[in-house]
């Protein structure tokens, strides 16, 4: 019988799972992706598409640097996706703003950016602008904006096209993506390898498994001996009718899609698995957008939705190898868009153990061991 390269199975066909799959395929592995049900909580289908570094990891240097690595890798990654899939993800990385209407929040954020800069060293690039300077530079910003931070490294993509580009790239590289394949339980096998029991009764056997199922990881992590507990965090979003004009800025809460619509978001709430939007929050988002840029006042909102972020206990990514069951990996993070270029490249080296770089020790789940035991 012909010796075949062992197959790696990725559980989860969202941005994280597909990125990891792509990285492994590019490293020459055979990869199968099992994607869940249509009505699963799919952060990849509801997100904002930001490629964002401002403030990230201000109190955790490894995350600040990992994020900065990802920002730097995006232009080449977008190009690679275009070549593999023929899809333009509409990367626009010409910098982004964080707007403030509360002076104390503005000061607090400046302190975080200062702290973040100490981790990033010469790679730190940001500026703080007070309201009047901002309005001089960018006519149209509302009078109640007291200031903004700006980072030239930040940007955004069209998130749905990005998801499609990833899926097409994985398929173009020979990866198998099976939709509607919900994994119910994972049974580590005595001689190594794993039996994945699907909800429809099928069983998939695999030598190695990478759990990238977002909120779906919550019920499967324990089967592999992982202790990380991910939690949902509700974000609500609006999108307006398409505009012929381009907004003069990108911010973490207001972004104009390449097709013209303005997406408004950024709320955070603990609502369990309830991802419904609410009129109260929709009104708050609209008010925020009009405060920042009053010309949006008569622009119609055409859709609103809620989506669930995938949050680890401390909000940072988790990259963990199971000690109890060698060959099992857990990859979970909130920033599946921003970090994608790394998930699709150097993370494969970490999974395959082919290089001491990257050192992802800091993102191991052992950091939760104490709080978990407590």
């Amino acid at each position: 019988m012909q010796q075949r390269t062992p197959e790696i199975t990725i559980i989860g066909g969202g941005l994280v799972g597909l990125s990891v799959a792509l990285g492994l395929l590019l490293a020459g592995q055979r990869v199968r992706v099992l994607d869940g049900a249509d009505n699963d909580a799919r952060a990849s289908q509801g997100n904002f598409g930001l490629i964002w570094g401002q403030g990230k990891g201000w109190d955790f240097a490894p995350y600040a640097n990992w994020t900065m690595d990802a920002l730097a890798a995006w232009p080449a990654f977008a190009q690679q996706l275009q070549e593999l899939s023929g899809i333009d993800v509409a990367l626009d990385q010409s910098g982004g703003y964080e707007f403030f209407t509360d002076p104390s929040e503005f000061d607090a954020f400046e302190a975080e950016l200062t702290q973040q800069a100490t981790h990033l060293g010469h790679r730190a690039r940001y500026e703080m602008l007070n309201g009047d300077d901002l309005r001089c530079q960018m006519p149209g910003i509302g009078p109640d904006v007291v200031g903004a931070s700006f980072s030239p490294c930040d940007g955004h993509v069209n998130p749905l096209r990005f998801l499609r580009a990833l899926r097409c790239s994985v398929q173009a590289m020979g990866g198998r993506v099976t939709m509607g394949a919900t994994v119910a339980t994972i049974r580590p096998q005595p001689g190594g390898g794993f039996a994945l029991a699907l909800a429809d009764g099928d069983v998939v056997n695999t030598e190695q498994v990478v759990l990238c199922a977002g909120l779906g990881s919550a019920s499967l992590a324990g089967d592999l001996g992982f202790i990380t507990q991910v939690k949902p965090q509700l974000g609500e979003l609006l999108i307006t009718e398409k505009l012929g004009d381009r907004l003069p800025f990108l911010s973490s809460t207001i972004r104009q899609v390449d097709e013209g619509g303005v997406q408004i978001g950024g709320t955070k709430a603990d609502a369990g698995l309830d991802d419904r939007e609410s009129l109260r929050v929709m009104a708050k988002l609209a008010q925020h957008a009009v405060t920042v840029f009053p010309a949006l006042a008569d622009v119609r909102v055409v859709r609103a939705w809620g989506a669930l972020r995938v949050m680890s206990p401390d909000g940072y990514p988790v990259y963990a190898k199971s000690t109890a069951h060698p060959g099992a990996f857990l990859v979970t993070c909130h920033s599946g868009v921003t970090l994608a270029p790394l998930h699709a490249s150097v993370l494969a080296d970490w999974i395959l153990n082919t290089s001491p770089i990257p050192d992802l020790e800091a993102f191991d789940e052992c950091r939760f061991a104490l709080s978990h035991a407590a």
């Binding site: 009718e241 012929g244 004009d245």
Partner: protein, 105 residues
């Protein structure tokens, strides 16, 4: 070009209202929607998509958004959901709307 419309309004009630389409005066029976007035007027396109494809009212019930026009300065108004008022200023919607209610043309 002013093509003769294939659409007819309901039998005249006698009352009529005046409006302008792209600045040109026009008349329609009282009580009809802007969309009904427009398709009866010429039957020609009343909006162009962002890619320049010509469109006009289709579903007449608020679903397809192909009837978007500018009404009294408000862009992207669904003509089929708007009753025609006397003296209304209606403009065909070409391409995407702009900020400040602005509109090319």
């Amino acid at each position: 070009m002013n093509v003769a419309s294939r659409f007819r309004t309901l039998p005249e009630t006698g009352e009529s209202v005046q409006f302008t389409l792209d600045g040109v005066p026009a008349t329609a029976p009282a009580g009809v929607t802007v969309a009904a007035a427009l398709v009866a007027h010429t039957g020609a396109w009343t909006r162009q998509t962002a890619q320049g494809a010509p469109r006009t009212a289709y579903c007449m019930m608020g679903v397809c958004f192909d009837c978007l026009v500018e009404v009294d300065g408000t862009p992207n108004t669904q003509a089929c959901m708007t009753l025609l008022g006397d003296g209304m200023t209606v403009r065909r919607q070409t391409g995407l709307r702009n900020l400040n209610g602005g509109h090319d043309g």
